[in-house]
């Protein structure tokens, strides 16, 4: 077959180019340590790699959320164990006070200790993680509980707390209030009296007709208009009630939830009213076992020296304690859930990383060997091409 001169040169050139191309390609793979450097190297593989990276990224997001949720829940857990200790102390004190062997002065001193416990309880329930309140549901910025005033009915007559529209002002200790004549609130003028020292001395006052707010010195109680009241004496019949400290729940009814996996979310904070009870913003007590209300009632009874009242509160405090412990175990369960998801996420994440690596990474040893071979071939091509190019008949003529 006839070969023209320019064919010799162009063939040499194309052979040099193709050997050089192999060298360059292997060099690129060697420096990036990847089999797939552009999508055209392995289109289906590249699509898988991108999808796996997206998946890996979403696993990282879930892991981050798990970490944050775990921190909040473990803080709540340790707060709840402190609360549990406080409640045990409260129960002991209440049991002591219920035996009836203490004088009212001694009961009032126990009341001061009880007041300290109630304040401790409230401040623990207002615990934060950083700036976020743990027991306010998804209201993170404002405290979950605050101290206010509430009412306990002690006599007959008014039975429903719907009779009391609002209580305002401040008190040093529980105030006993009783009506001294029968009538209808809002229509008749009614005489009533109140005691600031547990029933020793009484101050009289009159509720003018047409009004329904009782003035008790430093606090005021607004009654619903149209309710009937009866006179009360020392025999505890008739309309009689206590104005006392009460804890209000300021948070929201819904906990803050975070997604920790596909379709799975966990409540990062807790709704305080479901664990500790208290009063809602309208002054109504939360239904079911209500720890704060039971303790506040017990405190009020101690302040007025009513040992029987203290005994009646014991069941309420125990029930409240059980509900609080149930809340603590729910927090614990959530913590366990978060931890187990976190560990399974890390396993899956590692599997994903390995999959990406198997698709994308080049076998370093194989590349080095192929690179050596390509280099050798390139040198051989250069050498033979230069030999051919130099041969010419002119050398011999």
């Amino acid at each position: 077959m006839r070969v023209s001169t320019s064919q010799i040169f162009s063939a040499s050139l194309s052979q040099i180019n193709s050997a050089l191309y192999d060298v360059t390609r292997l060099n690129l793979m060697n420096s990036s340590q990847k089999k797939i450097n552009t999508p055209s190297d392995d289109p289906a593989g590249m699509a898988s790699v991108i999808s796996l990276r997206d998946y890996s990224s979403s696993l990282d997001r879930y892991t981050d959320n798990c970490t944050v949720a775990g921190n909040y829940l473990s803080e709540a857990d340790s707060v709840l164990s402190q609360i549990s200790e406080t409640v045990t102390s409260i129960l002991e004190l209440a049991e002591q006070g219920s035996t009836g062997t203490y004088t009212s002065d001694q009961l009032q001193m126990m009341a001061e200790e009880m007041e300290g416990y109630l304040e401790t309880l409230m401040s623990l329930a207002n615990s934060t993680f950083g700036d976020d309140y743990l027991f306010g549901g998804d209201e993170l910025d404002s405290s979950a509980f605050s101290m206010g005033l509430g009412v306990s009915v002690t006599g007959d007559g008014l039975t429903s707390s719907a009779s009391f529209l609002s209580v305002s002002g401040s008190i040093d200790s529980a105030v006993m209030v009783r009506f001294t004549e029968d009538g209808t609130v809002g229509t008749d003028a009614l005489d009533y009296e109140y005691s600031l020292d547990g029933g020793e001395t009484w101050t009289g006052a009159t509720l003018a007709s047409g009004t329904s707010t009782l003035d008790l010195g430093s606090c005021q109680v607004e009654l619903a208009a149209g309710i009937a009241v009866n006179a009360a004496g020392d025999d505890e019949e008739g309309t009689e009630f206590l104005v006392r400290d009460a804890v209000y729940y300021e948070g929201s009814g819904k906990a803050m939830s975070v997604t920790i996996s596909d379709g799975v979310s966990v409540d990062m904070t807790s709704v305080g009213s479901a664990i500790f009870g208290g009063l809602d913003s309208t002054g109504t007590a939360y239904s079911g076992a209500n720890l704060f209300e039971a303790v506040a009632k017990c405190l009020a009874c101690m302040e007025v020296g009513d040992a029987d009242g203290v005994a009646a509160c014991l069941d309420g405090i125990s029930a409240g304690q059980e509900r609080m412990l149930a809340g603590a175990s729910s927090v614990g369960a959530r913590e366990v859930k978060v931890t187990s998801f976190e560990s399974s996420l890390s396993v899956i994440s590692e599997v994903a990383t390995n999959s990406i690596s198997s698709l994308e990474d080049a076998d370093a040893t194989q590349i080095l060997v192929e690179l050596e071979q390509a280099n050798y071939i390139y040198e051989a091509v250069l050498s033979s091409a230069s030999d051919i190019m130099q041969m010419s008949l002119l050398d011999y003529l």
């Binding site: 077959m1 006839r2 070969v3 023209s4 001169t5 320019s6 064919q7 063939a11 194309s14 990847k34 450097n37 552009t38 999508p39 055209s40 190297d41 392995d42 289109p43 289906a44 590249m46 699509a47 898988s48 790699v49 991108i50 999808s51 990276r53 997206d54 990224s57 979403s58 990282d60 997001r61 981050d64 959320n65 944050v68 949720a69 976020d132 306010g136 549901g137 998804d138 209201e139 993170l140 910025d141 404002s142 929201s252 819904k254 803050m256 939830s257 975070v258 997604t259 596909d262 979310s265 990062m268 904070t269 010419s392 008949l393 002119l394 003529l397």
Partner: protein, 676 residues
Amino acid sequence: MINTIYSIARSALQNAQVSLANVSSNIANADTEGYQRTTTNYSTNSSITIYGLSVGTGASVTSITAEWDSYVEAQYLDSSAELNRQNAALKYADQLDSLWDQDEDSGLAVTLNAFWNAWNDLITDPTSSSAREALLGAAETLAYSLSEAAEELETMTQTIDTEIAANVDDANDLIDSIAKANASIAANPDDTTAISERDQMIRDLNEIIGVDVLEQEDGTVTILTEEGYTLVDGSSTHHLAYAEARSTESLLRDSSYEGSLRFSGSSSEEILIEFVSAGADGAAQYKVSLDGGATWLTDGNGDTMLYTADGEDNAVTIEGVTIWFDGSAGEHAVGDRYTVVAKSGLYWEGGDGSLVNITPMTGAGGDEVSGRTTGGTLAGLFLVRDDVVVPTLDSLNDLTETLIWEVNSLHSQGAGLEADTSMVGTYSVDDSGAALSNCGLAYGDRIVSGSLELVLYDADGAVTTTALIDIEPSDSLQDVVDAINSNAALGGGLTASINADGRLVLDAADGTTFEIVSDSSNILAALGLNTFFDGSDADTIAVRDSIAADTSGINAGALGDDYLLASGNNEVAAGIVALADSEVRIGSGSSAAASSLGDYLAAMVSTIGSAASAYETEAETASVCAEYYYNQQASTAEVNVDEELVDLTRYQQAYQAAAKMIEVSKEMMQTVLDMI
């Protein structure tokens, strides 16, 4: 007799000189591209009778022929056209390939994931201002990446268009030159230099658009495209034309339609419509094909999709092109056809001034439609533009459009850190009296029948009232404004109006603020109120100005049942992060898909990679073929300097021998003269 010897020697000398000149010319042209080496052909002269004997009278050079195999050349032209087509496509496919590489540190997939990650940080800390600033940064980076990618694709499309125009000009120049060469060869059929120059020009033309060559008896050639359109015939020519978007019609004789088809928008597909029922505008229906009539578009059940021909108000959008008829009188007949080529294309100029569409077209199954250009650089450029670059840009726009919509429709139902005193929409309507689904809103067709719930607060942030506004897609923007302004519950606490740009404005009265509770009609996202992104495709995507200026406007949460925003509410953030994994509807028409945004992007990259890889493989195959035929032709036609040197030596000796003959005959003459 001596004279005979003398003349034989003289002609031998001349022959040798001619041969030597030919050899020299070959040696000098050893590297000229397309040069066909020439050989001198000797033939013996007729004999004369002297002394009763037949004696030869020497030789003469009868012709100088070029060595050229026209059959190998035809094969070479075919494979060279294929090679150039693949190389032209590969050049741009390679660029796309490198630009769209996604590695773990950079690329669209990474910026998209960073965007989801930034929203995820807001889930655990919805009020954090540092998380909001970080989200703003991630969102702006994402918007920038998307618009950069779109711009690169648009620039690439323009570059391809420029290259196509330049190639068409080059082709037309070559066509003219070949015609001229034909004329001069017809006048002088033995001009081998002119012939080899013409053959080289044919090769050049073939690289641009694949051609077939027919040799005529008078030495001229007829050049046809591979599909049979004549480019050069003797000295008459037909040019190629590169023309802008146009529509053509072919109505039946008994069709009485007098109007014309109008269209706007662009598409990489050619849309062929054929009427299946007769009638005036508003009644007649037609079917649509994207591959020149081989298959017709079907709906989900497999029935042929029919569209109604109507005026501009009821224009039909197919593959991104809006089509309507502006007919006044007349009716269409069954079988009337229109072709809408909403892109620049390649045309062949027929002799009567008409343009025949020869733009390369790929059918539904990926094979080429017959009658359209398949070989040469032009075919490759059109194919890479219309099958790879423009569809990638369309997919990118679809992806961005869906991203904006999904994020906005979740975000618009949330609440920012502070209640608003006023809200202005980001999308404007062309006509506030037209139905919302058809008034120029990019997302107008996504409005459904539902209701919008708003809440008003007083100066202390307490809830004063809530209001429910019912929305229908057939409502106009003015209807919505009127419904808000006349709503009894709002009672003037919130007023709506349309500003000069055609955007909806909501203003709260003094001392009042408001928030969005929920929106089941999608109107907020469609009008751009309380949204996160602005824009509707990859060119226009941006973070809303109001959010870029003040990140407290980012809605991480939504209002609770008490119509207030709890500081830990993260519903909107959680919903947006869930978008990363959820399937959404992306695109419309024949390119609609249901997939997650990340998977759609992965599929786009994979398509680009497959196209580049396919062109590369086909280019390699074509290159092997073309090289083989080139070498075959080269081994026949190209100069081998060593061979010419041998010939040089040979003819030099022949010259010396002829010179010797003259010397001998001179001596013979001298001898005779000496005898006298």
